[in-house]
């Protein structure tokens, strides 16, 4: 790894659109000022990742995002030695890069990673702000700009997939949910440029599905899917077809729920 690593490529140059639901921007800014690690909780597609991008842009800091999965090991975060012609060389992982060069490191869906992987973040998230690379024999002192953000969706919560208390208690938490209907209508309109009347109907369908959560649906229709549907309608697709394609088919294979949501679409959009 050369010392001339270009962290600029992780800089966000254009403002990502984010509609604040409450005072979360001020809260995050305060947390960043103190470099407190932050945990974002909330259902899928409610704007967690968008929020982090927006804040990184607002603070002018580079953002390194890692999508966690269950095959991820500690080396995938920290870095590892590789063999090459002259022997071996060390390759920094994303977490090390962020700590070294002062980026915001965003671990998306952290519960997907195995618990032995998540413990490597511990020394970075308390007063030490260090990252020991034990294989390399180096102790990386975190850059003053470095901050760690994790996100997870408590909706999946089951016995196997939960954060350990020792991990949880290192973060300040922000709870996200789907925006209130007026705000969500604004978001869908702003993202796609579609009229507020159609956004309102889309949000109505979204709320119908969210009411069914726990009765055969694991998760309601997310804001992201509503935006997809609006995008399709914007292209000239008939609203009923667009909703079936973007809102219903992706979220369920259950025939009864599909039928009910299809009916909700027909009831809200007049053909």
């Amino acid at each position: 790894m050369s010392e001339t690593f270009d962290i600029k490529q992780y800089q966000i140059t254009q403002e990502p659109y984010y509609q604040a639901q409450s005072n979360e921007i001020a809260l995050y800014e305060a947390a960043y000022k103190a470099r407190l690690p932050v945990m974002l909780k909330g259902p899928t597609g409610c704007g967690k990742s968008r929020f982090v991008e927006h804040m990184a842009w607002k603070l002018g800091k580079p953002l390194i995002t890692v999508a966690c999965n269950e095959d991820m090991t500690a080396s995938d975060l920290v870095g590892r030695y590789l063999l090459d012609a002259n022997g071996t060389r060390w390759l920094d992982g994303p977490l090390t890069l962020a700590a070294r060069y002062g980026a915001i490191c965003y671990l998306d869906e952290i519960v997907e990673a195995r618990q032995d992987t998540t413990v490597v973040i511990h020394p970075l998230t308390d007063h030490r702000r260090t990252l020991p690379l034990d294989k390399k024999g180096e102790l990386v002192q975190a850059h003053p700009d470095f901050q760690l953000v994790i996100s997870y969706n408590p909706g999946y919560q089951n016995l196997m997939k939960d954060l350990k208390q020792s991990t949880k208690q290192r973060f300040a938490g922000l709870e996200f949910d789907y925006a209130k209907s007026e705000v969500e209508i604004g978001i869908v309109s702003k993202e796609t440029g579609i009229g507020a009347d159609i956004s309102a109907k889309l949000v109505k369908i979204g709320e119908t599905a969210r009411n069914l959560k726990g009765h055969g649906l694991d998760e309601g229709i997310s804001t992201r899917l509503l935006v997809y549907a609006a995008t399709l309608i914007k292209q000239g697709i008939a609203p009923r077809d667009a909703c079936r394609m973007a809102l219903v088919r992706p979220i369920t294979d259950d025939a009864d729920i599909r039928d009910t949501l299809d009916h909700a679409i027909d009831a809200v959009f007049v053909a």
Binding site: D71, T73, L212, G216, H263, V268
Partner: protein, 747 residues
């Protein structure tokens, strides 16, 4: 137009009543039939007359035939006449009028020649199959059921497609082969079976099939969680119930057919639910005492329209469904002088309020629709706001005929609307004094804890369908005996127990499972290591997870042991000193002990039957109960009685086992003979039913295994259990064999 003289001459029939209706019939025939058709019609009437069965068949033929021929084509006349002649020659000639009477309904329901011919075949088949047979000769006796069947056909065909009708007949024929009295009742639609089969075969959207969808609909769109209570429309001819809401829940029909105008049954349900939910959300009760019944009716119409208006703000798509379900009363109806048209007038108003594209031009209706819309557009309306509208509408539109007793009902009922019973508060219920009768608390009976029976279907192999709710199964907790007896038995087998213990220790979960793709692990995974090296040499990113490790695999097995407790169990087999019952007790105790040692959940149940109305299921041990004195006591109390109706017991044990959380589910059936019961003469029937029951469990991922003590079991046991069985010839060794069998199964 009257019949011509030639026509009268052609009709060689001098019955007075025939002659008197002939003119009317000919007028009807001319309306529907061609000249050739009329000829065939009269010739047909003659032929039927000549069968010599009196005036009745001729009369019915003359009345029904023109419309049947109009529906199905004139060739059908010939077909019906030929068929009637055959029937006349058979012992069932008595049924001719009933047959002819059923044709009109059949033609209307079936609407095609092909289906109609099939219907005729069905009649023949029914006649043959319900005739008593003596020495295999069957064409000599009258079928008692045929007239009943033919009388039921109009009602049946209004509910069932022809295929369903055939199945209904099949069931009736096969279910009561030796019981003509019950069979007649079946065909008269008087038995519960008969209705149950109709319900199963009928067309349309059944409530039971749609229940979950409706539940989701209420939750998703209306945020309501209600109890649905279905009622049946079939057996209440005089006054059809309509949907309503009360404290118990939401009452709605058990079936909705799809409508010809394209409204699906499920959407008719949703229309009802949407209307009722709108009431629940927006209606506040009014005091009823100050209003006359007509005023109340009018207020209800406005209130219905108001809540629908509000619902349509949220779900505009509902309008198309409601509009299709709402009657369209004819404004220019020819009105009789002695009939009250109040309902008709209100229905027009209701239609005009719901449907903006209505074509009514009655100024009063238009005025009130305009006033209604004005109020609604202001927003924030409440029920009292429109009360005045209703009251004023009645006083402005009042005509003297309104209060006549004869009321015009046609086309005024809105099927998806409820009776608005929750909209009114009655302060005075009536003039009578009310004696309040407090229901006395039911006497606590000393009797043992009783659960209502569970109904199970039974498979009828010859008809290839289930007999719905055929078997009643009662659950009981086995009364306790002396647990010391079981301890003695176990002590007797202590040597065997010691051997078993060794096997158990070996069986305890210790299977190793390899976990691959480990960065750090117990040993090198060569496959992955080589692949990584190749990646590396070729310049790609190598996978460093080249190790593997192991973990112990846990076992998750739930076992249900089902004992056949029929009377034969009390026998002492040849060469033994103990009865099969005692041997079973020993074997089961050992097995229960062994399974308890292994820590798998085990339930023990037993069954015997005394006809299909009384299958008893005895609980000995539940899954979560530990192997203690309670269980031992119940095992010691085991008794043998009655017969072996196995299918229902298997289904019942499977029902509990299905709810267990385990990767593997095992049902062990310990029996000493083939399924049999005293109300079933066909030995094959219960065997086939048990086979289907095993297959049902197989579909639920339950592995069924039979341990059979009957040396002659080979004849049937494979039919039921496939290859999943063991026959124990030397019964004396059962206590030893049973645990071994179990262990070999779960190894």
């Amino acid at each position: 137009m009257t019949a011509t003289i030639e026509e009268r001459q052609k009709l060689q029939c001098n019955f007075k009543r025939v002659q008197s209706v002939f003119d009317d019939c000919m007028a009807d025939a001319r309306k529907y039939l061609s000249t050739a058709g009329i000829d065939a019609y009269i010739v047909g009437a003659n032929t039927i007359n000549k069968t010599g069965r009196g005036e009745e068949p001729v009369l019915v033929f003359l009345e029904e035939m023109p419309q049947v021929a109009a529906k199905l084509g004139e060739e059908v006349i010939e077909e019906v006449v030929t068929f009637t002649r055959t029937l006349a020659k058979s012992p069932n000639s008595k049924a001719i009028p009933n047959f002819l009477q059923s044709l009109g309904a059949a033609a209307r329901a079936l609407e095609s020649r092909l289906l109609f011919t099939e219907y005729l075949n069905l009649v023949v088949q029914t006649a043959i199959r319900t005739s008593p047979k003596v020495h295999g000769i069957d064409s000599m006796y009258t079928s008692e059921c045929l007239p009943d069947f033919l009388d039921s056909v109009p009602h049946l065909l209004s509910l069932l497609p022809l295929g369903g009708l055939k199945k209904w007949v099949d069931y009736g024929v096969l279910a009561y082969p030796n019981d003509p009295q019950h069979q007649r009742e079946y065909f008269q639609l008087k038995t519960a079976d008969s209705r149950a089969v109709i319900q199963r075969e009928r067309h349309g959207t059944l409530f039971y099939d749609a229940e979950r969808k409706l539940d989701l609909y209420m939750r998703g769109l209306w945020l309501h969680d209600v109890q649905f209570i279905p009622y049946s429309l079939d057996f209440d001819e005089l006054r059809k119930p309509i949907p309503y809401l009360n404290e118990q829940g939401l009452h709605l029909p058990d079936v909705f057919d799809d409508l010809p105008n394209g409204v699906r049954g499920i959407d008719r349900y949703r229309a009802v639910l949407a209307h009722l939910s709108a009431h629940r959300r927006w209606t506040t009760p009014l005091i009823a005492d100050n209003l006359s019944p007509f005023q109340r009716m009018a207020v209800e119409v406005f209130e219905d329209a108001r809540v629908e208006y509000l619902a349509l703000q949220e779900f505009p798509g509902m309008r198309s469904i409601w509009r299709k379900l709402h009657p369209i009363p004819n404004e220019n109806l020819q009105q009789d002088a002695d009939v009250s048209y109040i309902r008709h007038r209100l229905a027009i108003l209701s239609r005009a309020l719901l449907d903006p594209s209505h074509t009514y031009d009655n100024p009063l209706i238009l005025k009130y629709v305009a006033r209604f819309n004005e109020i609604m557009e202001k927003g924030n309306t409440r029920t009292p706001d429109i009360q005045m509208l209703g009251v004023q509408f009645i006083s402005e539109s009042k005509v003297p005929s309104d209060s006549y007793g004869k009321i015009y009902f046609n086309n005024t009922e809105v099927e998806y609307r409820d009776d608005n019973r929750l909209m009114w508060l009655f302060i005075e219920e009536g003039d009578e004094e009310v004696y309040e009768e407090r229901p006395r608390p039911p006497q606590e009976s000393e009797d043992e804890f009783k659960i209502p029976p569970r109904m199970y279907p039974e498979w009828d192999y010859s008809a290839e369908h289930y007999r719905p709710d055929w078997v009643s199964l009662y659950e009981h907790l086995q009364p306790k005996g002396n647990p010391a007896k079981i301890d003695q038995l176990l002590a007797k087998h202590s040597a065997l127990a010691k051997r078993l213990k060794k096997i158990i220790d070996l069986l305890k979960p210790q299977n190793k499972v390899r976990i691959r793709y480990q960065e750090e692990g117990a040993e090198l995974d060569l496959d992955v290591a080589i692949r990584s090296l190749i990646d590396f040499k070729s310049g790609a990113q190598p996978d460093t997870r080249i190790n593997m490790s192991h973990r112990h695999d846990g076992r998750s097995v739930a076992v249900s042991l089902l004992l056949d407790l029929s009377a034969s169990l009390a026998d002492v087999p040849e060469g033994c000193t103990q009865s099969k019952l005692e041997l079973s007790q020993e074997a089961v105790s050992l097995l229960a002990w062994a399974i308890d040692q292994m820590g798998d959940p085990l339930a023990i149940g037993g069954f015997h039957s005394d006809t299909r109305h009384n299958v008893r299921f005895w609980h000995f041990k539940g899954y979560n109960e530990s192997w203690g004195d309670d269980v031992k006591g119940r095992l010691a109390g085991m008794e043998a009685n009655y017969s072996t109706r196995m299918g229902a017991a298997i289904r019942h044990a499977g029902h509990y086992l299905g709810h267990q959380q385990a990767d593997k589910k095992l049902l062990l059936v310990l029996t000493d003979g083939e399924p049999a019961d005293i109300d079933t003469s066909d030995a094959r029937l219960l065997i086939e039913d048990a086979r289907i029951a095993v297959r049902e469990l197989d579909q639920q991922n339950i592995y069924t295994y039979c341990i059979n003590l009957d040396p002659k079991a080979d004849e049937y046991v494979a039919d039921i259990f496939g290859r999943q069985y063991a026959v124990i010839d030397n019964i004396a060794r059962l206590p030893e064999r049973l645990p071994q069998l179990f262990m070999s199964l779960v190894k």
